[in-house]
Structure formats: structure tokens, C-alpha cells
Subunit: 372 residues, 4 copies
């Protein structure tokens, strides 16, 4: 009877909480996301700068930062046309930044993607060409040349920060004729829907309309620690769903559009990849009825590094949780589901509130739960 | 003599420590909620136990706990019929717990509400009678007597944990004929929609259907610290919107149904009170356009102790924030709203995702923003 | 050459630090101290109060608090003569507190020592009799009776807070004729050198002079969390070096004087026990020379829950550490010792600055280090 | 254009975050040390590297790091002879690093000291020449030239990391004939007793023997955050006691030897400056007797950023504190001193355990306390 049981449960769970704290993904810098059916999930940040364009650090620091956050791949995409340090760093070979990162990374297993940023004012705008073979060849007065050359080098090219208000004063991306032609020519394949702190729904709409690969990048110039870590955040990244952990597979996956852009608790991607990602991120630990009740306890662990916010979409209500609830990164949460009668299995249907497959559209994820 | 001095010194220094650490509401134990138009907002926990029924502490601890959380009022609602410590504490005067709390509270300004829990098995169930004058008079074999007597004493009576699965194995509240009659007779006036960790949508439905006052309580038996604080939570409370900070006004407000039940980021109440509460909780600091853009920066401060989760409902999208975003308790957040053209004022329309005016119904809150 | 090596080392150690944080004893409430040669180390708090005298909680809370701090044994030593709650808790059987603790503890393996506090004004003062068989028999007007009776029950008796300024306005313990006679009669066996937050060197001097067992206790009346935990402290405890983990062995060890009183980083005891305790608390992980140098790296782990402060006493100086340095509880520290020439073994001699074997006397601890 | 705006915004908001968190000195990065009688206390780090020698960051980062730690002055002392990045940064004008730091610092009030590192193998070793006018003039094959030239430029020159085991395999500094001659010629004026994590007592001995100015520096190559901050440490600094806050006064003070080297809780300096520094760091808040006792309560605040460890040297013992105790940086501690009889004033005599005026010699600091 009475509520003494609650005391015991809560003391127990207090201990659990204490033990869990140290293991919480929150405290750690290392990012973790699960693989999905058929693919390895690669954590990438493919838009970064160093002293070789307008960044503030030597390329080695970018490698060390990436290792601290457990990334699989990075690209140092120096501006081809914007070189504020050129008096000190004449930089005649525009591949230097890549070579220096490669040397630092070689014993660490971090993948370095060879890239450069094509940097023009509107209507050309900024784009990153990655998986290039020679950055020097992308330099030319005619803005069409770098895109043509990137295509010759079989590079994957994506449009940077389309919604940046310094370029588009409304903060909305405007696809120029120039860019539309690049898409038609097969010279522009992706688009940043998240850049630095900014997610733009309009960029997502463009990605879907023009079938562009969805990208998220840090565009870091200073220090990851100062811009993100010490504010309790991780940098934006692109999860790439590749056939294996290699540069070739990563490139194939980018061309095939198999990505989810992630910025802390925000996840943006096509349903075909975002839904399996969230499904794999939440693992069922146990499902049993509370003795003498029709209340089903379902223990769920979020093995990803994103805090996941859900809204109950089941025909059943929850005991001890509001319909909107969070499973923090790396933590375990127990739902108590009022199934009204004993079931052998249920479909756990939750809307992922921080996830978007289209502007304002959040996916409902369903887990089939067999009850022990 | 004795060492009571040490206790006082150490409690004082505990407060000092807390204040020194906790300028952010998050770190601090002290709860803060703003007043709303026409009413003072009282923070109350009106369902608690001590060693005088089945709790684990002397009444003084309940007073000290309440002061640490900055509550305005508490009630020690000892079970009339469940007295597991009766061999050690014969407790002939069932008002003792109240008297002891009164004595401890008197120099602190904490309001003590005289209460008792009427504790029967189904179909009578558990109910708290508060604002009573003599608990002894509520003891009787016939379950109708305590309700009649409470009414004679002009007490406010509410149904406890209607969804508790130990009493209702489905976890759903079942209003018995006995209880329905109590409502008709004006002997039952409120209902807990939040008890301990449990919010029950079905209890909210009953509150709205039968016009019962919406209550949230801790029902604490052990220590607030172990059950809530060290897990990063606050206890559930009832915010009472009273004409002034007095027991009489509080009672009037409870009878009038002017409450919101709060449990951390969850807020449940009638729209007439919940909407003004959230509106008052978020203060506009500044609204200006970013130079040379049509992007409006709106700086908002959450002065409440609840983390508030919102979803954008405006015709405009946000720069640098997903449509779903949080304003943590006590913190300031800047929205960047893409109004597309310069406006002189806008309506900031946000759905409060952690707030419920009806089962599954979250209110949209609108702030009129004049732009500087 | 150059200092690039330092960067790599420091990044590596940054990761170590991050991983270690969660496991750090600092964050955890659970106390750990190693066994010493020939004895099991029992963590005990043998002076505590509940509502059965002038404390604020039911005995069950004391059991739960002890389990949270990983104690091996506690005693609830209610005042025999000071009973402020007697109107509510008539307490005719003065063993009730003990019985209630026993019941709560029985499935947890916590040892409960039967005790009572003999509470008189000066010159009798306060003393705890523990390992009694019946508290009721200790009640008498004549102050000699309880001591005689305690002896009859084969109890271990210790003098409480001898330096408490409420009893001794200078804050210095004054051994009365009454107490001296108790010692002569074999009726007083121990003395608190640490009580609540107070360590008194004069009490240590008395312990050594009269061969009394050295005790440290919390004398808790309120909540351990409020008085200690939330200030970043642990309660004072007595480490008892017993032949095995049982009440009988513990009693034998107390009579034999095999104890160390501990209050966070302060450790007070006879050299015969304090030195082996600290020696066992610091484990050698590895000792090797840094290549191409005569600088010896010695990695040491503090497996105790006390931060240990040391001062180098070797003929060698340290690289990368001041002569005074700390090994925090649960952490590993690397000393770099300039042995000037390569050695096969050295004696690591450190003065333990927070440890006292006599007033103002800190022991030098020596670890024989074989070099790999 | 470009995204430099983001950097500025995010650095600014990083500071905001820090201030919001960090009212305790512990949490905050900003260093604070009090002025001493007759002098302003300048916080300096006069040995640092950037990409212009073998460091990993652009000079602007060094300025931002210094501002975050609230330093008054820094020097970027690039190696003249060690230039691993020379292929990318030809660096024909060896003053570039200084110019770039000056430009970044100019609106922030941070003092930039023009310096360079003379980098040779033994017996010349490494030395920093600061307050130079032209680094280019210090380059020459003959090792005597840079010292002569530095003297011509009226530079202050100090010996770097004399105890570094890569140069001296015993980890002990060996003063070469070359260096001894430099001292005689007035071409070498200071010596690092703390470099990176290393304090060398032998270097302090040399400083005292040859009347060299005592220096502490970070010698940072990577990131201050990774090497120090995220391990809970501050970088080593030199406190310079100058007549006012200007480069000229700072230089005069360095030549006059008015410094204390500081690394977290370690302070090393001549007694004439170290003692007044610690004396000024601990402020008396209040001194009163506890009513009805002879126990004097003395409230002390440590206004410095160093945790200060003390050992009681008074003829009186302490109540509620061991003889060895800490006053953490920025915190207030209350001593309870058993003066045995009521006094009108006492001398509070404490040995500062983390402070050294000579190898192994810790100063006793005395504060005259008038009792209210």
C-alpha cells in the first residue's frame, strides 16, 4: 500500500543517476551516432578554415579538434579568392592546407577530404568543392571555370550558407540563375541547411525541390572550443551513410544524398535516412508490465549524442511523463505506458520534435515492442 | 545547550552556498514564478507527510525544505487512518504536525495550511482536506463523515493521485459514485493532475469536466533532496493566483480554481491562468533589426524556474534556431526572425510545448512586440 | 626537439582528465578506504541522533544516509537525558531507535551498533556508550551509574566533543576528576578528536596521554546532505581496523585503539595505523625513467576518498611539481623525480600534510619504489 | 564581408557565458591579483609562440586568450633560429608576429611586449629578449651577437626553462660559462623558475645567487584551453610590480627584479614581494569573539586567483580547522582561534605552504588583527 515503494524506487534511481552522470555523453566531447541498416554512419565536418585562408589556426589544430569530437572526416576548405593572410602566407600551392592536415592525421585514422571554397559575391555566392584533386586548377576570373574544373576533378560541390543575411538581407536563400544552371549542369550537388548556428528551413525546401544533398557544417574560423564546446554545444556536422569507412564510399554516399545534418538536438534529413537514424539511436532495453497493473514499463536508451525530444503519438497515455519528453544523449529513460489491457506487443509511436524531414514536418518514429 | 545551534548555522551556510553558486535559476533550488495581472502567484505544496503519519522526517524538516525551494505555503497532510508509527508516536491530537510546523515557520514567513489526508481504499480513495480547523473531528468509521466535517470546517478538499496504479491498475482515474456525490454536495473541490512524478491527462480531463481545481503536489514522504533535487528536478507544486499573500486569499483562489500545476518544465492549468503565466514568464528585453537586413533580433528572458520549450507559429521563419527551441529557466535567448520586410510591430506567436490547457492541447502564446 | 611533444602529451592528458571525471571519488558520495596489513578497514559513524532524542529524522533515514556514503557501521546514540520530543514520542523503551535501524538495515549489510548518549553538564559531560545491550538500564540520577552499567554491559564508552566551546568556553578540553576516575575504572575508553566540523589538537593530546581510542563522528542531528554533502564535504568518520567485518571484531578493535579519525582531507590517528593507512591509500602504478634522462616518472594513484596533500622529503627535487602537492581522492598523479643518476630503487619519502599522529606532528611516509 | 563577424560575436558571447557562470574565481578564467604597497600588479605571460615560429595559432588567438585570462601584458617570442613553418611563412621581417598582435590588441588595452627567442643548443641555450625594437637585428651566426644586440636595444633578457630535461638530462639547470659571461656583461637579467608545468627549485637557487629576475611563463605552443583551462588550471604567469600600468614601468620593474612567478596555487618570488603579495591577497572581513567564549572568529577573504594553503604558526590552536587549511581563490573562510583569554589584538601568523622565497623555504605571513 502506501507510498513507501516510491521512496525506495527514488533512492535507487538517485544512485543510478549519480553513476550515470560520469558516462553521460553530455559531459564528453566525443560524438557518437549509430550505424543504420546497410550503412556505416560517418561523422563529418566538411567546411572549415585555417590560417591558409581567413582562419586563425594552423591545420594541425583542426585535426586535433576533430579527434576530440570523434569525427570520422573533415575538410579544410580554404577560400580560393579570399586570402587576408597572403602577405605572410603567400600560399602559391593552394593544396598546402590539405597536405599539412594529411600529415597530422595519418597516424590517427581521421579521413581528410581535399576541398576548397569558391568564394564570390552574389549571384555566384560561396560553394565548397570537395574530393578535388588540385585546388590550384579552380582559380580563375570567370566564375564558371571553378565549377567546370571541379566537375572534371569529379568533385562533390555544395552551396554554402544560402540563408546568410550578409549575402541575402532577408535571411532567405535566393537561388540565382547561375546556381540553377550549375545544378542543371551537374556542377552543384549539395546545400548547407545548417551552417554555424543557423538552420534555414528555406534551404531545406531548396534541397528537397532540387534534390540536393543536405549538409551541416561548422564553417569554423576560430576555435571549436570557444564557439561551441564552452557553450555546452557541439559543432554542426553532416552524418554520411556510407557503404564503408573510406573516402570513396563517403563520396558515393554524398552524391547519392545519404546524409543527415545534425546540430546538437536538431536533426535534418530526408525521411529515408533520418527515420532509421533516430530508430537506431533509441535502443529498447526492456519491456515488462508493472506487477498487478496494465501499466507497461519500457526502458529506452538514447545511444546518440543528440538529446532527443519526443511527443507521444500512441493511442495510450503515459504514466509519470508528460506527452512531450526528452531522452538525453547517452541516457536511459523509462516510459510507463497505460495500455489499458495486457498486450503482447505494441507499436511505440513517437514524433521526434527536434527532427525535420521537410520544413516544419517532424517524423513519427515507430518501434515494435515485444513484451517480455 | 545541545547542538541545535549547529543545525541552524549549517542550514544558514547551506543557503549562503546556494546563493553564491546559483545566480542561474538552474543551479539554484529557489523557485520563482511571476505574478499575473490582478493576482499574486503563490508557490505551494499542499500534500506532504512527516513521521506523524508515514513520512520519515520531523515537521521542521518540511519547513526548511520549503524555505530552500522558496515556497510560499505548505500543508502537512498526515493520513488520518494510516499511522504506521503509532506505537512510537501515539498522536492523540491529530493537529500536532500542524502545530510543530507552525512553530518552526513563524519567523520565516512561510504560510502553513492546516490539513489532513482522508485515507480509504476504493471507492472512497485518498483525499486531502486543507484549511481545516481540527483534524481530530475528521476521524470516523463512516467515510461520509470526514467529508461532511471538512465542509463544516469550510475546508478545501481535493482528490489525491487519481491515476495511481496501486489503486487503479490501468493507471486511469475512475470517478466513483461516492466521489461524484461528494462533488455534487460541494465536498470535493480539486483534483491532483500531478502527484510525485506523475502527470495524468485523464485527471486533467476530469478536472475540466467536473470543474475541479487543478492541483500538483509532491506527496513527499522521504527527502525532497533525494527524490527531486539531486536528480536535477524540483518537486511538483501548485501555483495559486491569489488576491494577496495570505491564507484567506489563497483559500479563496483555490475554491475559485485559479491554479496551475507545475512540475519542472511541465505546466498544466486552465487557459485563463496558464496563458497569462507563460506570457508573464517571458520578458521582452529588446527588439531591433540587424543592420542592413530584414532580420529582427528579439531578446527574450525566461524569468520563471521552468525551462520553456516553444514551437514557432508565426508566418515567419527563424534564423539561427530550429522551429522548436528552449528558453531555459532564468536565461535569455535571442530569436532572429525573418520578417522579410521591416515591420513596426509583430505578434510573436509560440506554442508552449510543455504546457497543457486540455489533454494534448498546448496553448499558443502571443506577445505583441514593438520594434525599437 | 622543441616543445611539440608537450602539446601531444597535454592533449592526451586532457582526454584522460575528461574520462576520469565521472569516476572521480570527488563526485561520488561513496567513501572508500583500503584495508591495511592484517586488518579490514571499517568506515563508521558512531555518534548520531534521530527524532528519538533531538534529531530531525526517523531512524530509517540514518540507515539510508549511511548506505549512500558506503559506511560499514553506524550507531544511533540518542540522548538518555535530553528528550525534547518526549511529549510526542514518550519513548518508554530507550532501545526503540536501535530496533528501527536494525529493521531497516537488515537487508543491506550495514552494521548497527547499539548505543546511547549519556548527557550531563560539566564535569560529567557527554559520553557515548556503544555496544550496549539495554539502554534503559543506563538511566539513573547518579551520574556514576550509567558508566558502571555500561561497563557491566561490556560497552565501549567515549567522551564526546571535549573541546566544544558551549561546554568549555576556551574551546579546550578539560579532563575532570570525574572523567579521570572513569578512565581509571576502565569505564571510559575513547575520545572524539573530531566532532562535526571540529578537530581539536588538545583532544588528540589527551587521547595519547591517557591511551584513549581516537574517534571522529558526525554527531548529526539534521541531514547529512545539508550539513556536509552539498558543501562538498563528507561527514567525519572513524576508520576501525578490525580482524573481520563483524560487530565483535569492530568492538575488539575499538578497545584495542585501532582507529583513524577522518574528516575529508584530515586524518588523525596513532602512527601505527595512520602510516599504514596512507601507505595503502597510495598505489604505485609504474616507475620508469624518461628516455635519455635521469628523471624518474612515478605514477601514483590515491585509492582513498581523502584528498592527500604531501611535501617532498627526498634528497631529490621534483620536475613539474612544487615540493608541496596534492593527489586528489581517486585520482592518479605522476611525479617526475630528479634522481641525478639512474637508480634501481628509491625510497619515496613524503610528509602527509593533512595527517597527524600527535598535535602538529605529521608523519613521513616511505614507499620503496623498484624501478622497471 | 567574410565571416569574421561570427568570430567576434561568438567570442563576445563566450565572455558573457563565462561571466554568468563564474562569480567564483574558480569557475572563471579571469585572473585577479591585488596591488601591493607602492606598486601596480601586472599579470604577464612573456614567453609564447604562434605560427610565426613553431606555434599552432595566428597571433590574434594569443591576444584573445590573454583577454580571457585578464592578463595585462604578453609577448610573442618567436624562435629566431627555429622556423619549422618557414616554407609556408617565409617571415622575412621577424617583427610580423608582434605587429599582428599589436593590431588585434589595440582596442583592448592589452600591453604587447616586443620580443624574440634566441634559440641555440647548449651551452648557449634558449633565452627570451623582450622590449626589443627590431627582431631582425638579433639574427646572426655568432651566438654572442644577439645578446649584444639585445643589450643595444635595451632589451630585458631571461634564460628559458633552465631545468628542461631535453637540454639538461638530469632536469637540473647548468649555468654555462657562456651564460655566466652574459650575466657579467649585463646581457642576461632574468631566469624562468616556472616554465609550462615545471617549477625548478634549482632555477630559483640560481636566480637568488646571481640576482636574476624570477620569471614564470607558459611557453605556449598549442592552445591555452587544452593545455591548462580544461584541466582546471591557469597558465604560469609573472606578476610584475610596476610603478604604473605601462610598458616602460613594466620594463623598469623587470630590471629591478620586482616579480613573483605564479602557477595556480604555487607562488615563487623574493620575500620582499611575495610576502606583501600574499598579505594583500587575504583580506580581513571581521574579527569578533563568539559570545560567552574565548574563541575568536576571524573571517578572511582570498581576493587572489590562487588557492592559498596555510599552516597555523600561532601559539593558539584552531577550532573547526586543522592546522593546515586552504582558503580557495575568491572565497571567504572563517578561522576560530582559541586565544584562551580575550585579546584586543593578535598577530595572525600563517606559513604559506604553496609559496617559496628560497628552495624549500616558505614564508610566514603575519596580519595584525584588531578585534572589534
Amino acid at each position: 500500500m502506501m507510498k513507501i515503494i516510491f521512496l525506495i524506487l527514488s533512492v535507487l534511481s538517485a544512485f543510478t543517476t549519480l553513476n550515470a552522470q560520469g558516462h553521460s555523453h553530455k559531459g564528453s566531447m566525443a560524438l557518437h551516432y549509430p550505424d543504420i541498416e546497410g550503412y556505416v554512419t560517418l561523422k563529418t565536418d566538411l567546411h572549415q578554415h585555417t590560417v591558409f585562408s581567413d582562419g586563425d589556426v594552423w591545420p594541425t589544430i583542426r585535426v586535433l579538434e576533430a579527434l576530440r569530437e570523434n569525427l570520422d572526416a573533415i575538410s579544410l576548405t580554404e577560400h580560393l579568392e579570399y586570402q587576408p593572410h597572403i602577405d605572410d602566407i603567400p600560399h602559391p600551392d593552394r593544396n598546402r592546407s590539405y597536405y599539412l592536415a594529411m600529415e597530422e592525421a595519418k597516424e590517427h585514422g581521421l579521413l581528410i577530404v581535399h576541398g576548397s571554397e569558391i568564394t564570390r559575391s552574389e549571384p555566384v555566392g560561396h560553394s565548397n568543392a570537395i574530393f578535388i584533386s588540385d585546388a590550384n586548377m579552380l582559380m580563375a576570373d570567370d566564375p564558371e571555370i571553378p565549377f567546370e574544373e571541379a566537375k572534371k576533378q569529379n568533385a562533390f560541390v555544395f552551396w554554402n550558407h544560402p540563408a546568410w543575411y550578409a549575402q541575402s538581407p532577408t535571411g532567405n536563400p535566393i537561388l540565382s540563375d547561375f546556381q540553377e544552371e550549375r545544378i542543371k549542369n551537374g556542377e552543384l550537388h549539395g546545400i548547407e541547411v545548417i551552417n554555424t548556428f543557423d538552420y534555414a528551413e528555406e534551404s531545406l525546401a531548396l534541397a528537397l525541390k532540387h534534390n540536393l544533398t543536405i549538409m551541416g557544417t561548422s564553417d569554423i574560423h576560430g576555435l571549436i572550443d570557444w564557439d561551441y564546446t564552452e557553450k555546452g554545444m557541439h559543432r554542426p556536422i553532416t552524418l554520411v551513410f556510407a557503404k564503408d569507412r573510406s573516402l570513396e564510399s563517403m563520396k558515393e554516399a554524398l552524391f547519392a544524398g545519404r546524409t543527415v545534418a545534425v546540430f546538437n538536438s536538431l536533426l535534418v534529413g530526408k525521411a529515408a535516412f533520418l527515420i532509421p537514424l533516430i530508430k537506431a539511436s533509441v535502443k529498447l532495453i526492456e519491456a515488462t508490465y508493472i506487477p498487478d497493473t496494465n501499466v507497461l514499463k519500457v526502458e529506452l536508451e538514447n545511444i546518440s549524442s543528440s538529446d532527443l525530444m519526443f511527443e507521444n503519438q500512441m493511442p495510450y497515455t503515459l504514466y509519470s511523463k508528460a506527452p512531450v519528453f526528452e531522452i538525453p544523449a547517452g541516457e536511459t529513460v523509462t516510459l510507463q505506458i497505460k495500455t489499458l489491457e495486457k498486450k503482447e506487443s505494441i507499436s511505440l509511436d513517437l514524433k521526434a520534435l527536434g527532427a525535420y524531414t521537410e520544413p516544419k514536418v517532424q517524423p513519427v518514429i515507430s518501434w515494435e515492442i515485444k513484451i517480455d
